[in-house]
Each structure stands twice: as C-alpha cells, then as structure tokens.
C-alpha cells in the first residue's frame, strides 16, 4: 500500500501531516459511541504513516459507523448498505496505488453484505477493513443484527433475538485466502491503534472486528467487559500485535502464533473471555490486484492492437 505507483512515482512530497489534517467535519455520533475512538485511532495511524490524504480512500456502507468517511479529509465513498466491499474492490482494482480503508457496521458486513464479505476475503486485495460491531442496528434504531447476543431484545425481536450470534471470526477462519483476522475493542485505544497499524502493514486483506459500544441501543452488551478487564484475554506474539503495556489493566495474556490456523479456530470459539488480538495472519496468498495486473497502453497503441484484432473479423 505504500508502493510507489506509476502515477505518483517520483513526485517529491515535502508535506508533513498532523492528526488534525486528516479531520474533516465534526463527528455526529452520540456521546460515548465507540465510533469516536475508532476515528481517533485511525487518524493516529494516518499521521504515523504520513499517508497523503489525496492518496487515501475510505469506503463505507450505510449505518452509524458508515458515516466514518465524512469525518475524514481524505477521499471517501459512503456507498450503499452492505455494498462497501464491491466499491472498494473497484477502487483498488483500478487504482492499486491508493490506500484503501473500508468501514462497515455489523449488519452492513455480516447481514446484507455477507456474500460480498466472503468474496472480498477471497480476492485478498490489500486494504484495511474495519467492522464496527456494536452487535445491533444503530442507525435504524435497534433491530437485531447477526451478531446480536441470543435473547437480547430489540424492536423487531422484543422477546429477545432468536438465534445465537454469528461469529465473524470463525466464519472468516473457514474462508479460503483469509489473510489477516484480528479483533479489538473501542475501549482499549492502544490496542485499537496497534491493531489498525498492524493491519495497515499487512500485505493483503486485513480484517478487524472492532467491538464497539453503542450506549444508546446496546449499552449493556459490553458493559461487563469494559468494567472488568479480567474478562478479556489478549492474544500476544512477536509476530502478532504486541500491546502488553495497557497500563497493567489487561493481565490475561495468551501467547498465540497467528500462523496457527487450528489454534486460531479454537480461540475463536465462544468462551467466557473476550479475546482481542491477531487470530490469524498469512501473507502468502496472492493479492487479486496483482494477479490481475495488466500493462497499460496509450490510446495509439490500443488502436494498433485493436486493428490487428479487427483483422480477424475482416471480410
């Protein structure tokens, strides 16, 4: 993603950017909404990596979380509900030189967008993908999401949701070509930042599930975890995300080699602990933008080629 592209190569850029340079409109999320923390962490990563705003594109779907691009002064595409990934695929496929970030909600990604989600993992294009998972539909005011806990009451299922929640991590661990799968939480900012950083440096499709508080519609879902860091287990490894210095708050550290798929699957199974960290990483998979790389031609060259092609149809 830091590759020098055909188009911008050689351009000297003396500018330096500070966090504020990446900020656009004032975010309109509710006070206490976990999305704020994610935005801050992203801005920090942009600053750290000194990404040029014009070379950076944030693509999103529809939902509270999908307002994300509006609050950044980069290029952005606030698309359709569930369809962020096809848009991002198009951007990256035609412009591999751009830094592409995708932001989706849990409904956006795993309900209406589920098909694209699976297939984007297959394409394995280099982009950072954030699913802001408040385990509920926020923007439409509290309906059940695939990740809503069993029994949690919403407006469409007031007697509690009928199905156990879909586990996004385990689904992805079953997908061919999955290459970077991590989980973090909005209330652990250092971990959040490091996870996005690691995703940015991953050479492929880097998916992060961010556990995200929605004080308005799913306040109690993460309450215990936020209050009791003991309920959290951090996956750490020299190859993974190593944020051990969380003010000594998070004491449950679990060494996990992110290349170990079997263990990753086991760790992803529901347990009494919330596990944050890098579940799986594999940089060996080819990236679609590279397997599909084509040599570009000038119009004149193309005309010459097409004339040869037309000869095949000549009368």
């Amino acid at each position: 993603m830091t590759d020098c592209s055909l188009l911008t190569c050689g351009v000297e850029d003396e500018r330096t950017f500070e966090m504020d340079d990446y900020a656009d409109a004032m975010p309109r999320w509710c006070p206490g909404c976990g999305d704020h923390a994610v935005l801050t962490a992203v801005e920090r990563v942009l600053e750290k990596e000194q990404l040029r705003p014009e070379q950076t594109v944030f693509v999103s779907g529809i939902g509270c979380s999908s307002r994300f691009p509006h609050y950044l002064d980069t290029y952005g595409f606030h698309g359709l509900h569930g369809r962020a990934l096809p848009l991002a695929t198009g951007v990256k496929l035609s412009r591999p030189d751009l830094n592409v970030f995708v932001v989706m909600g849990d409904g956006d990604c795993t309900s209406i967008g589920a098909g694209h989600w699976l297939h984007a993992l297959r394409y394995n294009m280099r982009m950072v993908v954030l699913m802001l998972d408040n385990e509920v539909y926020g923007l439409t005011k509290k309906q059940t999401s695939p990740t809503t806990p069993l029994g949690f009451p919403t407006n469409t299922q007031p007697r509690g949701s009928y199905l156990p929640p879909l586990n996004p991590i385990s689904v992805m661990l079953g997908m061919t070509n999955a290459s970077f799968i991590a989980q973090t939480a909005d209330w652990v900012p250092a971990h959040l930042f490091e996870t996005i950083e690691a995703a940015f440096h991953h050479d492929g499709f880097a998916f992060i599930r961010v556990l995200q508080r929605c004080p308005v519609f799913s306040a109690n879902i993460f309450e215990r975890a936020v209050k009791s860091p003991d309920l959290t287990e951090l996956l750490v490894d020299d190859q993974g995300i190593n944020v051990t210095n969380l003010g000594g708050l998070y004491k449950n550290l679990l060494r996990h080699d992110p290349s170990d798929l079997d263990r990753a699957r086991w760790l992803a199974e529901p347990s009494d602990k919330i596990r944050l960290g890098l579940f799986y990483q594999n940089q060996a998979h080819p990236k679609y933008e590279e397997t599909r790389k084509v040599k570009h031609h000038t119009p004149a060259e193309k005309i010459a080629l097409l004339n040869t092609e037309l000869d095949r149809y000549a009368v």
């Binding site: 705003p53 014009e54 070379q55 695929t89 084509v294 009368v315």
Partner: protein, 637 residues
C-alpha cells in the same frame, strides 16, 4: 408430403444430375438444423462468414434448443443457424425460410411447427432415417412426413450418414461439414474461401483435423454436384469499403475496447455473457480486465468504485441482472459517477425466455429506479451500432457525469452481419488520468446553474478530497437535507439530461416525410421495419418509419413528425393487449413500451403493434400490420 413424394425425391438424389438449373435470387434464406450437438451451428456460422467474406449481405440467427440436453431426434432438440443471404446489405432475418438442410425429420418438424418455412421451401434431408433398421424410427419418419405434407415442401433426400461414413467413423461429428459442402455447391461459394474458413476454425486443433474437415466439405460438394439439379445464385457484390463481420456481442466488446474502457465488471447471464467471453480472450492485451464478480450487485459496485477512482468502467447484463443493479444505479446517478451499463435484453418476465429476444426492458431501464434518477437510455439498432453505441455511451457518461444504459437484445447479440470496418480514433479513448491538484475553493459538485454540469475530482488529486454519498448533499458533497438544497440538486441532475437532449438531432424519417402511417421503432427491429415500409411503399401505401436511438432523453421533433401522419404506430417486441380481446378497453389496455413513452411525451395517439414470439419480427408480418392498420380511406397512389 406423402411417402410417394419422398421416394421420388430420393430417386432424384440418387441419379446423376444433368447440368443444374441456376436460380438467380436477390436474396435467399436457408437454414441448417440438426440435433443439438451435431454441429449444425458450426456449419451455419461458417457458411455465414464465408458468404460475408465473399461480399454477400448476410444476417444469421441462431436456432437454440430450449433444454440443456434435449433428447435426440425430437423437435425440442433442433439446433442450428438460419442465414439470410442477399446481393446487397441485409438488415434483418427476413420472412420464411426457402431452403433447409435438416439432419433428421424431427428437428425439421420443429421448424415446420414454428411456421418457419415457406410453403414451397426446398428441404434437403438425411435419408438414413426413412430406411432405418429400428421400426420405431421408420414409423416416426412416416408420421412426420404426414404432418409435413400439409405444406408443399420440395424434398431432396441426402445420404449424409452413408456418405460421411466413407471417410469418417463418427457421422455425428462429420455430417455438419458434409452439409457445408452441399450448401457451398448449391450457393456457389468460393471454395478457396471455404477452405480458408475451415483452416482458420480448426487450426488450433492441428493439421489433421483441418484436413479431415476439408475432406468432408469436399465430399459434400462433390456429392451435391452429382446429385442436385439446381444451384442458387445470390450474387456477391464486392464491397466498396473494408468490411468486418461479427455478432452484436462481439461488436459491443470491440466497441468497449475502442472506447478505451479498461474494466468490464460482470456476472454471467444469457444472452449477455458472450460480451465478456469476447473480451476474456483479449482484453488483458489492451490493459483491460474482465472481472467476474460474485453477483450482479457486486459487478456494478466494482464498476462504480473503479469509475469513482478515475476509470470509466462498464457492466453488462440482461433483465434479471438489471433488476439486481437497480439500487446501485441510483447511487451512481446521485454521486454523478460516470457509468455505462449494457443490457442485452432477453425474453421476460422473470427468468422468462433466457435465450430469446424481447424488447421489454425499456420502461424499467428508464423508470425502474425508486426516486428521481435522471439518466440516459439508448438502443443500437444494428450490429454495427452496437460497436459505436458503447463509444458514444462512454463519452456521454464522462461528459455529463451520468449513467448511460445501452439496450441491445438477443437478436443483435447473436445475429451476425457484415458492416463497414470502423476507422478507429484515439479521441474515442478516455483522457489519461489527470491527477493535478484541484483549484483553490473548487468543489466536487460545482454545478453550473444553467447546465447542471460539474467538474469531476479523482482520488489522487491533491486538494480534491471529498466523500461521495448517496444521501442528499450540497456542492461540497456534505450531507444536506434542507428543502432548498434538495430542490436545487434534483434540478441539477435533471438539467444535464435536458442539455444532452438539446444537442440531439431530430431523427430522420425513413420514406416520405408525411403520409398515412408512421411506424416507430427502436432497437433491433430497424431492418425489418424499414424493409416492411419499403415493401408497403412498393404496393403504393403511404407508409414511413422512424427509428429512435435515444429513448431517454427522447430525440427532438417527434411531435412535429407525428403530426404529418394520419396514424402513428410503434412496432415492438414486447407485450401489449390486443384491441378487441375480452376486458380490454382503451383505458385498460396495456400498451407497447415505446408507445407508452411517446404518448406521454407527445400526447399523440400513438398506437402499437407488438408481438412476443421470442423471435425477431418478420418484415412480412410487419407489412401485414401496416396494411391492417393503415387508416381507412388512406390514399393508395
């Protein structure tokens, strides 16, 4: 046809022919039809290409079985090609077939039952079945001949199997080339061109295969020269200009390349898929990519993403796929992201008639998107048009930052026709990406108040950062729900299309500029309509026709043109209720889609004559409709 007649035909075919009678014809329709899998399609396609290369006018239509694998020797198994051959340019598939070569009597039956064959058609038929060892086959033959005898076809038995077995083991794979030889002799094809075509076609499979096929063709030629007592002479005219010959989907693919597009994002669907097949082979050479997405929604999403990133991309689909793209079309229009969508229309509704022709996506294309979604809809009416339409579409899409839909159909898609080789032009191509910084205070939607046009920013342009959104937004792409902003931006998106309309030329009337009846059409029916009008004129009727390329916005001047005719009637391949049917009144009548559009737009009482046979319309049938609909008391001069 009685068993007697058959026998006599058999006799004829077995005796050495005297010097053949040469029948001159300005045009002739033949078809090759076999069980699916026996290669009649290859045979017919080769015959069409050879004829085009010789300089004949040609229009081919595929005969496709409904089932994946229909049982052999059943009417449902009929597969082949129908070729209309002419001295001059041929613009449509014509009327009834004049000559058939059929590999068995059952597939012939299917053609007979569809009323495809002229009453006096010549039928060359495999003779092996009449005397087959299996009595049920012989019985089937007899029954079929009985049914066929209701028309006065002229039968000529051809011992295809017997003959091919003299040089090959598997007649199922050889008959088609033998048939090509027979037809080549009858139609006086240039045998060097025939051999060249076969070489071209089989060269990848090696010299031996090429030789074996040439041998079969020559066997057919020799057999015909000894056994057939007539030849048909449709004189080729050496074309004045360089010509190419291809089908409409190939033309669409070539047009896309010629327009400089670099991404075709699609999901397979009949009859659109072969556009991507044509590109699949060669697009990468041009720096282009065929992206087969996981579904039609993703396909258009990827195209929009690519276009947002500066690349004009297109997607190609058919009815059910168009349905799925509806939501994204609205987003492209709202974000003013240029996009070309090719809809190769098939028979509907729903899955409908996947391989058959219909023109019933017009209103859905124009009005199908919830909310107010101004965009452009155009329809090529010839195979040549398919090439140029994509180029025009791309230019409009970029100039107007809008969505352009190009509606072709199954008739154009699979029909093959020669046309003037296009003189390629670099100006057709997209300008290379310009990533210069944007001007100070420039906005991503700096609408010109008069025209609604605005400048497009592309990721990579310093200073141009904005977030495209499907929500109502102001000129900086900031979400804005205020009434004034909504009124204004709606107007801006609509205005662009009015500006495009102001640049269009009024369409030209085919025939006299005034008269008793004006037939209005769009899309692939052009050739058939104009031929019908010409024939009507020959019989002294004051008929003319008008063919529209732009359906949204409509071309200007229609009201004026309509006012000069006593009656205006569209001819379309889509459904309309017939006047006089139970419960059908002027109020309740469902009307042809173009007629609906024209009525609303011009308030002229535009009638319609439409059919949904899943087949192209015949000029003869349109002529009948003209005759029946011409106002009573109209002058015959």
């Amino acid at each position: 046809m009685s068993a007697n007649a058959t026998t006599s035909a058999t006799k004829t075919s077995r005796t050495r022919a005297k010097k053949p009678r040469v029948i001159k014809a300005s045009q002739h329709i033949l078809e090759v039809v076999s069980d699916s899998g026996e290669g009649a399609q290859k045979c017919g396609q080769s015959f069409g290409l050879i004829s085009a290369k010789m300089g004949n006018g040609v229009w081919t239509v595929e005969i496709i079985p409904a089932e994946i694998q229909p049982p052999v020797r059943t009417p449902g198994s009929a597969s082949g090609v129908r070729i209309r051959l002419g001295e001059d340019k041929i613009t449509n598939w014509g009327d009834e077939t004049n000559l058939v070569i059929a590999f068995n009597e059952q597939v012939l039956l299917s053609r007979h039952r569809l009323d495809a064959l002229a009453d006096n058609a010549t039928i060359l038929i495999e003779s092996a079945w009449e005397t087959h060892e299996d009595p049920s086959v012989r019985q089937a033959w007899t029954t079929a001949m009985e049914e066929l005898s209701t028309k006065s076809y002229r039968f000529i038995n051809v011992p295809m199997e017997e003959q091919t077995l003299t040089i090959t083991d598997n007649p199922r794979r050889g008959k088609n080339m033998f048939a090509l030889g027979v037809l080549s002799w009858i139609y006086k094809r240039d045998m060097d061109k025939v051999r060249a075509q076969i070489t071209d076609q089989f060269v990848k499979k090696g010299d031996e295969v090429v030789k074996a096929n040439i041998d079969l063709v020559e066997l057919g030629e020799t057999w015909a020269s000894k056994n057939i007592e007539f030849r048909i002479d449709v004189k080729p005219t050496a074309p004045e200009q360089e010509m190419v010959v291809m089908n409409g989907n190939q033309a669409t693919a070539m047009g896309a390349i010629a327009s400089g597009m670099e991404l075709c994002s699609m999901y397979p669907i009949t009859p659109a898929t072969s556009v991507s097949h044509s590109l699949g082979d060669i697009f990468e050479t041009f720096g282009g990519i065929v992206h087969q997405a996981e579904d039609e929604i993703a396909a258009i999403g990827v195209a929009i993403g690519a276009s947002f990133a500066g690349n004009v991309a297109f997607t190609v689909t058919s009815g059910p796929g168009m349905a799925l793209k509806t939501e994204f079309i609205g987003l492209a229009v709202m974000t003013e992201t240029p996009l070309v969508i090719v809809d190769v229309q098939r028979g509907g509704p729903s899955t409908g008639l996947p391989t058959k022709v219909e023109q019933a996506d017009l209103l859905a294309a124009i009005f199908g998107q919830p909310g107010d979604v101004p965009h452009v809809v155009m329809a090529p009416s010839t195979i040549e048009d398919c090439f140029h339409a994509v180029i025009t579409a791309r230019r409009i899409a970029e100039t107007f930052r809008c969505v352009v839909m190009v509606l072709t159909d199954a008739n154009l898609a699979t029909g093959v026709q020669p046309f003037v080789r296009p003189a390629l032009d670099t100006r057709w191509h997209a300008a290379p990406l310009n990533l210069e910084p944007v001007g100070d205070n420039a906005s991503p939607y700096d609408w010109n108040n008069d025209t609604g046009l605005s400048q497009r920013f592309i990721p990579g342009q310093p200073g141009g950062m904005f977030t495209a959104t499907g929500l109502a937004h102001d000129k900086n792409s900031k979400v804005d729900y205020s009434p004034d902003n909504n009124e204004k931006t709606m107007a801006m998106r609509s205005r662009k299309i009015a500006v495009l309309q102001s640049t269009l030329k009024p369409p030209t009337v085919h025939g006299e500029d005034d008269g008793d009846i004006l037939v209005v059409g769009w899309g692939s029916t052009k050739g058939a309509i104009e031929e019908a009008v010409d024939r009507a004129n020959e019989t002294g009727l004051r008929a003319s026709s008008l063919h529209l390329t732009f359906l949204s916005p409509l071309e200007p001047g229609l009201k004026g043109i309509f006012s000069r005719f006593k009656k205006v009637m569209t001819v379309e391949i889509n459904y309309s209720d017939r006047v006089g049917d139970p419960y059908i009144t002027d109020e309740s009548r469902r009307r042809g889609q173009l007629s609906w559009l024209l009525r609303a737009s011009t308030l002229a009482d535009v009638d319609c004559w439409t059919r949904v046979p899943g087949q192209p319309l015949r000029p003869g049938a349109i002529l009948d409709a003209i005759v029946k609909n011409i106002p009573i008391g109209a002058t015959h001069d």
